[in-house]
């Protein structure tokens, strides 16, 4: 074990935990004030629920052993035998530090989905959805890509910090839920505006900060690889944010604050799978692609009448695909041990595309089935009256803002 590596992984795990409050604010500022707490709650509860599902069996299914390339075993249920040493995993950090770092990823991934179902999903349905989803969708995917399963081991697709496992996965699951739920009352007819962009912008700042733990922590040590991931993360986020506001200025005449924040997140998403495999100038290209293409993807929801309320699909699915695919072009062996098309290895591009398709199909189908079962049993949506009154009062008997007292 190495104290420097351990210090960095503990720090990174804390940073990734901090992303969930950041995401909560990012989303919470974008809904109407009558729904702000319900939005925050849908993010925070992921910390509670997923910690519990992952302590019990999730972590074990993802990272303990391997059954036929598709799933782990249950030897580590209840985190039995996770200890102060690094005897189970081959890393230079204590096993419990490695487990903790992985936990944080399992937590934020379902939280990402919350933006798509804002302002109308029941709290009970949501809590059950993420509990089940973290075991049936997230754990297998984490196993396939990082836990010794077939995507990583056989297909040899690469994913440094979660383009497949986190962003494409959450983005396509968001689409499944949006389809199952239907649009909010007033979608495309009423003015539905963010109630507090200062909170959203703060949330974006917290996400950016935490993302250094997400990406550079994925090197699992305080190494040159971590530093490179840190650098490419910063570059892609900054370039994407800038490109997004340029696209806005050209299209609408004005750059917006929400646009800058959104572009930054799009860039962070896109660089996630690539951050440990590409260099600074490739990060510029990936960031630019994310900024322009995710901005362009925003309009799709109106065309298809999908009320993806806070644009989880446009940002996380589209951004994740951009990163996972461009990685097949820009990966460089001297950085992360793997070459992409531009460095002489066209097969890596194909592997990346195949892994994207597999992730999308698997996650969409299982997510949609879980949603339909919930819809048929306890129901997914609040009543029209509850939706009008706002979810804060109707689900939680609370008010977000009481400034007159």
């Amino acid at each position: 074990m190495d104290t420097g590596d351990t210090a960095w992984i503990l720090t990174s795990a804390a940073l990734v935990l901090f992303m969930t409050p950041g995401l909560a604010l990012f989303y919470g500022g974008m809904v109407r004030s009558k729904n702000v707490l319900a939005m925050l709650m849908k993010n925070y509860v992921a910390i509670g629920v997923v910690t519990i599902t992952w302590v019990t069996v999730g972590f074990s299914l993802a990272f303990s052993g391997d059954v036929g390339g598709v799933i782990g075993d249950l030897n580590l249920w209840g985190l039995r035998d996770i200890g102060l040493e690094n005897t189970l995993f081959e890393h230079t950090v204590p096993d419990s530090a490695f487990a903790m770092f992985q936990f944080m990823f399992a937590i934020i991934t379902p939280a990402l989905i919350a933006g798509a179902v804002a302002e109308r999903i029941k709290f009970s349905a949501w809590a059950i959805f993420i509990a089940v989803w973290s075991i049936l969708v997230y754990a297998p995917l984490a196993h396939w890509v990082w836990g010794g399963g077939f995507i990583g081991a056989d297909l040899q697709a690469i994913d440094f910090a979660g383009g497949l496992v986190v962003h494409i996965n959450a983005g396509i699951a968001a689409l499944a839920l949006v389809i199952a739920l239907g649009p909010r009352i007033g979608f495309r007819r009423e003015v539905i505006r963010p109630h507090s962009l200062p909170l959203t912008v703060l949330g974006a700042g917290m996400l950016w900060f935490g993302w250094f733990g997400f990406n550079a922590g994925s090197a699992l040590g305080a190494s040159g690889a971590a530093a490179n991931a840190f650098l490419t993360t910063q570059i892609a986020a900054a370039v994407a944010a800038t490109c997004w506001v340029i696209a806005e200025a050209v299209t609408h005449g004005k750059p917006t604050t929400l646009g800058f924040a959104s572009g930054a997140v799009a860039g962070l998403v896109a660089i996630t799978p690539a951050s440990g495999f590409v260099g600074p100038l490739s990060a510029v290209v990936i960031g630019a692609a994310a900024g322009f293409l995710c901005f362009w993807a925003l309009r799709l929801k109106f065309r298809f009448n999908f009320d993806d309320s806070l644009d989880v699909v446009a940002v996380h699915l589209v951004g994740g695909i951009i990163g996972a695919v461009l990685l097949g072009l820009f990966a460089e062996e001297r950085i992360g041990g793997v070459n992409g098309l531009f460095f002489g290895a066209p097969e890596q591009l194909l592997r990346q595309i195949a892994s994207v398709v597999i992730t999308m199909v698997f996650s969409f189908v299982v997510s949609y089935v879980i949603a339909l079962i919930l819809k048929a049993t306890i129901g997914l949506r609040v009543s029209e009256q509850e939706e009008r009154s706002g979810l804060d009062l109707s689900l939680h008997e609370e008010q977000g803002w009481v400034l007159a007292d």
Binding site: E190, V191, R388, S389, L393, E397, E398, Q399
Partner: protein, 112 residues
């Protein structure tokens, strides 16, 4: 001239503004109020302490109109604001002695 005051459900505001525009109304002012009436309030719970909040958020709109337009304005608001449930609100008609447009100093009917 009259001042038509209506207490309505907030989500009806845009619709009413659009309907009034078609009747020939050239302006209105709207503010937030807390309404108390037959409509039940709600409960709020903070760390186990339950509060009954009797007030319901409403929007109060004011329209200055010429006498001849008044009946039309009233019935437009009535029809547009109606959902049929308790809490749809009230309309009150107040007499107005004079109206002045600040920009031009015009008075009475011309000020509208």
């Amino acid at each position: 001239m009259k001042l038509i005051v209506a207490y309505i459900n907030p989500f009806k505001l845009d619709e009413i503004r659009d309907a009034l525009k078609e009747t020939g109304v050239t302006g209105l002012s709207a503010g937030n109020v807390q309404g108390f009436g037959r409509q039940a309030g709600h409960t709020e719970t903070y760390r186990g302490a339950e509060y009954e909040v009797d007030f319901v958020p409403k929007v109060r709109i004011e329209v200055l109109v010429d006498d001849t337009l008044a009946p039309n304005v009233i019935s437009t608001i009535e029809q547009t604001a109606r959902t049929g449930s308790i809490g749809d609100g009230k309309i009150a008609v107040l007499p107005v002695e004079d109206v002045i447009r600040i920009r031009t100093g015009e008075r009475g009917r011309d000020a509208l």
